[in-house]
Structures are given as structure tokens and as C-alpha cells.
């Protein structure tokens, strides 16, 4: 089965895959995804900035009901899923969380991964980014 990433501009590298945002040369604000102007100061120039792969769950919730389109369910149909913000230090990133409910808590160490989001009509599996419990951190 062939796979592709959901949106090319969000990522850098393949193994390991990294998220890429942008950082302001003026005020050092880090944003995700990339944008061409700084939301904080009027003077800085934005350049690509690779984000850390490890972070801590900052907040979380469960999507209990199937969202309306343009949400695209996985080929097996909608299953409730977790979303949250992950604190990467310089920025908080919103992401799907592949964390079981019993393990879920604010402060849980997590690391970047990918997960199947849906399939294209030709059968290509489309991957999006997510965070899962970090085995090296969680003792």
C-alpha cells in the first residue's frame, strides 16, 4: 500500500519525520505551520524552524461524536479520538493524541508519530501527525 503525508508543508525529513514551523528573527516567536509574517512583531523575518519531537501534554479532550465534513473519517469509519495541545517548550502544537484514556493526563511525556487519517480514492493511505506516549520518558 502506498502512503502519503496529509500536507507536505507541515513536515521535514522522513526518518525521523519532523514538524516544521517558522521562527521570527526579531522576537523569536515560533509558529506552526509556517507563515510568512510574524503575528507578534512587525519587524522580524520568518524562516523555517524544525520543531522538537518530544513534549508534554498541555491539555486534552476526546472527540466523541463524528465531525461534519470537511473532516474525513478513516476507512474503517469514525472512532472517538483524542486531541490536545503538546507543549514543545517554544510553542504549543495542537495534534491528535494516540494515548489511551487511562494513561491520559496533563503533563504526560509524548513524542511525535504519524497515524493514518483517511484513504484517498485510489487507496493511498494518508498520514497525519500525532503524539504518542514517550517510552523513554514514561517510567
Amino acid at each position: 500500500m502506498t502512503t502519503r503525508l496529509m500536507a507536505e508543508g507541515l513536515f521535514e525529513g522522513a526518518d525521523p519525520l519532523r514538524l516544521v514551523g517558522a521562527r521570527c528573527s526579531g522576537c523569536h516567536t515560533v509558529v506552526f505551520p509556517r507563515q510568512d509574517s510574524c503575528p507578534r512583531c512587525a519587524v522580524g523575518a520568518m524562516s523555517a524552524h524544525v520543531l522538537p519531537v518530544r513534549g508534554l501534554v498541555w491539555s486534552w479532550t476526546l472527540q466523541a461524536f463524528p465531525p461534519k465534513p470537511p473532516y474525513r473519517p478513516p476507512s474503517g469509519g469514525f472512532q472517538p479520538y483524542h486531541v490536545g495541545y503538546v507543549d514543545l517548550g517554544e510553542v504549543l502544537v495542537e495534534a491528535r493524541l494516540e494515548v489511551p484514556r487511562r494513561q491520559m493526563r496533563i503533563g504526560l511525556p509524548v513524542r511525535l508519530t504519524t497515524m493514518p487519517a483517511y484513504h484517498d480514492e485510489d487507496g493511498t493511505e494518508v498520514l497525519t501527525f500525532a503524539f504518542r506516549p514517550d517510552p523513554e520518558e514514561d517510567r
Partner: protein
């Protein structure tokens, strides 16, 4: 800021179409009824109105109401400003009156939404399709994520969320124009379907329908028309500044996260020369229980983390120290976006005049407060006095 009475703007009449769901009536028809009620309440005719502003998110161009009310040539401004639509119509009319455009003006807001969650478009918010396609573009998630973090940071329990909703439905049950008229216990609210934890089904309001209108008058004209005019002491509209935690944010800065509600509330109290502790009846945006909980502190009505104690003591009940959402708020009324802000004014005005349609705050309250908050990071607050 002290103004001469001749420069003060007062509410001299208000009208409202019941909130809820009624397939037989259009948004525009509801607006017409609210306007006619407000005019009758003020004892004036449509031809007396010298300036008008109207707002609706999805139910048509407000200025076409002149076709129903009378083609008098009145200047009529259309407003589409999300949750701040109602407050923006009041601001437009009040400023026009103070600028000498007219001595009598009208503000109206209405909407009729489809059932279920609001439909969103990633492009409209400047976001890539991936954000919605991967299932992260839902307002319910945002409210849940913000609430979860707030409870964690300030040591508030999930039961406080149920207390907020229980009080809303208790008040709504007594209000003839509310949608949800059935009281629910805290346990029933906690046990209702999980939508996005910590928020359950009955902790969220639904998109609904409704309309509300106000007649505003300048200076002495107000006292000629109305026995007990309600003074618009101050009104402030603010957009977000860097670092606020808003809906549809793929990223946030590490913090602190300062909301536009804080800026708008500080501005209205400063301009009115009053403190949050002076407020005796308040309306807070309660799209969900968590939002009201957060807004209680962001507007200064209590300290961060004090909410649970306040709620448990009954301080936010109509008979309490700081009654909140005495008409049941959005939780009991639903949220027709264009009408919601003017519903708040309607309730506070009627409370200050001692003629609340539902439960009346005892002891002749003299200072009222309204607060709205919405996407993409806007807030409007007002202080009203008698």
C-alpha cells in the same frame, strides 16, 4: 469619565422574540416582532427612529427590515461581527446619537441557525484543509481544551461545570422567552452524553433562533419617553492581542494567554468609574459551562479559582451576591449569534427596571454588566446603570 446628561445614551425600550426553535417563522419575521415590541415599549413609532443598526450572521441583510417597518429613509447600518454583533449594533447607534446624527436610535439583532454544530471552513479562517480534514476544527474541542487546562491550573473541579449549567436551566425554567425550560440536577448534567470531556451534552448551548431589539435615546429625550431609562455607562469592543488562546489555533505561544475579555472588561469598568464588585446583575457568554466559569474571573467578577466556592454558596443565583445569567444565558436560550448579545442587554435592562420577565433580582439592582466573547478572539462588555 463623566459626561453631561445631554451626552448620555439611555435604553428606553426593549423587545424580544422568544428564543428556541420554531420552523414557522423566519429570522427576519422574528426581528420585525422584536423591533415592534421595542418601539411599543418606548412609546414611539418607527418614523421617530433617526438612526438604526442591525446584525445577523446567517439570516439576511438587516437593513431590508425597512421594507417591513416603513420606508422612512432612515440611515441603517448592517453589522456582522460574530458574537459581538449585538454589542456592535449598540455601539454604532450610541456613537451616532452622541455625534448628533439623531436623538433616537434602534439596535436589532436576529438569527436562525441550522441544527447541530456550526459548519466551518478552514479557508475562511486562513487555515489549510488538513486542519479540518484531520478532525481538529471543532469549536466544542476548543472549549473543552481551554476548560480542561483552566480547571488544572486553578484547581477547580468538574462539578463546578455542572453547577453552572444547573443554575442556567433553573433560571431558564422561569423565563418565558428561554428555550430550555426544564431544570436539571447537577448529576443529570454530569451523566449526560460525553461530547468533549470535561464537557457533557448539557454543558453546551445549541445554535438556535431568536431576535432582540433596543430603542436608545440621547440625553433629556430619554427622560421624556421613559420613566426609568437605563444609562449605557460604557461599552467596549476588543480584538485579541498576541498570546490569547482562541478557537481554531493549530499552535499557541507558551503563555501567558491573555483574553480580549480581560481587556474589554477593564476598559468598561474604567470608563464607567465602577468596579466589578459594584455589579448586581451580570450576563456572561456561556456557550458552554467552562466558558462562563472562565469569564467570571476574566471579567473581574471573582478571582481565578474562586468560582467553585462562589457557585456552591449560591452567590451567582438571582438571590445571591452577584447574580449571573438570570435568564438562563446561552445554555438555556441557545445561541442565535446575531441576537445573543442583545438578549443580554434586554435581560439586564429589564432587571434594572425591576420588571424582569423571569426571576427578578431582589433589592433594586442599580449596576448591570454584559459580556460576550467569540471567534476569532473578540469580546465586548457593557456597564448599564439606573
Amino acid at each position: 469619565m463623566t459626561r453631561a446628561r445631554s451626552d448620555e445614551v439611555y435604553v428606553v425600550g426593549c423587545g424580544m422574540h422568544p428564543f428556541g426553535r420554531d420552523e414557522t417563522v423566519t429570522g427576519m419575521a422574528m426581528a420585525e416582532r422584536a423591533v415592534r415590541e421595542a418601539l411599543a415599549d418606548a412609546g414611539v413609532g418607527w418614523e421617530d427612529i433617526g438612526y438604526a443598526a442591525g446584525g445577523s450572521d446567517v439570516s439576511g441583510k438587516p437593513d431590508t427590515l425597512v421594507g417591513r417597518l416603513g420606508l422612512t429613509g432612515v440611515p441603517f447600518v448592517n453589522v456582522q461581527n460574530g458574537c459581538a454583533t449585538g454589542a456592535s449594533t449598540v455601539l454604532a447607534v450610541a456613537n451616532a446619537l452622541r455625534a448628533g446624527e439623531a436623538s433616537l436610535g434602534l439596535a436589532v439583532g436576529f438569527d436562525k441557525h441550522e441544527r447541530g454544530a456550526f459548519t466551518v471552513s478552514a479557508a475562511r479562517y486562513g487555515l489549510g484543509d488538513w486542519y479540518a480534514e484531520s478532525g481538529m476544527m471543532l469549536t466544542t474541542q476548543f472549549f473543552a481544551l481551554k476548560t480542561r487546562r483552566y480547571l488544572h491550573e486553578h484547581g477547580v473541579s468538574e462539578r463546578a461545570l455542572a453547577m453552572v449549567a444547573a443554575r442556567a436551566f433553573r433560571n431558564g425554567a422561569q423565563h418565558p422567552m428561554a428555550w430550555r425550560r426544564k431544570p436539571l440536577t447537577e448529576q443529570e448534567i454530569l451523566d449526560s452524553a460525553e461530547v468533549s470531556p470535561p464537557l457533557t451534552q448539557y454543558m453546551f448551548c445549541s445554535p438556535g433562533q431568536g431576535a432582540a431589539a433596543l430603542v436608545l435615546a440621547l440625553g433629556d429625550r430619554a427622560f421624556d419617553l421613559c420613566e426609568r431609562p437605563v444609562r449605557l455607562a460604557s461599552l467596549a469592543l476588543r480584538t485579541r492581542r498576541f498570546g490569547s488562546f482562541e478557537v481554531f489555533s493549530p499552535w499557541l505561544p507558551p503563555g501567558p494567554h491573555r483574553s480580549p475579555s480581560v481587556d474589554a472588561a477593564e476598559a468598561v469598568f474604567r470608563r464607567a468609574g465602577l468596579r466589578p464588585a459594584d455589579v448586581r446583575v451580570a450576563q456572561l457568554q456561556d456557550t458552554d459551562s467552562g466558558s462562563e466559569l472562565i469569564h467570571l474571573a476574566e471579567t473581574g467578577l471573582c478571582g481565578h479559582g474562586e468560582q467553585e466556592e462562589l457557585l456552591a454558596a449560591g452567590d451567582t443565583d438571582a438571590t445571591g451576591r452577584i447574580p449571573v445569567n438570570t435568564d438562563g444565558g446561552c445554555l438555556a436560550g441557545g445561541e442565535p449569534v446575531g441576537a445573543s448579545g442583545l438578549r443580554q442587554f434586554h435581560e439586564v435592562v429589564r432587571q434594572l427596571q425591576g420588571r424582569a420577565p423571569g426571576v427578578q433580582v431582589p433589592g433594586a439592582p442599580q449596576v448591570g454588566f454584559t459580556h460576550v466573547y467569540g471567534a476569532p478572539g473578540i469580546s465586548a462588555c457593557a456597564v448599564l446603570t439606573v
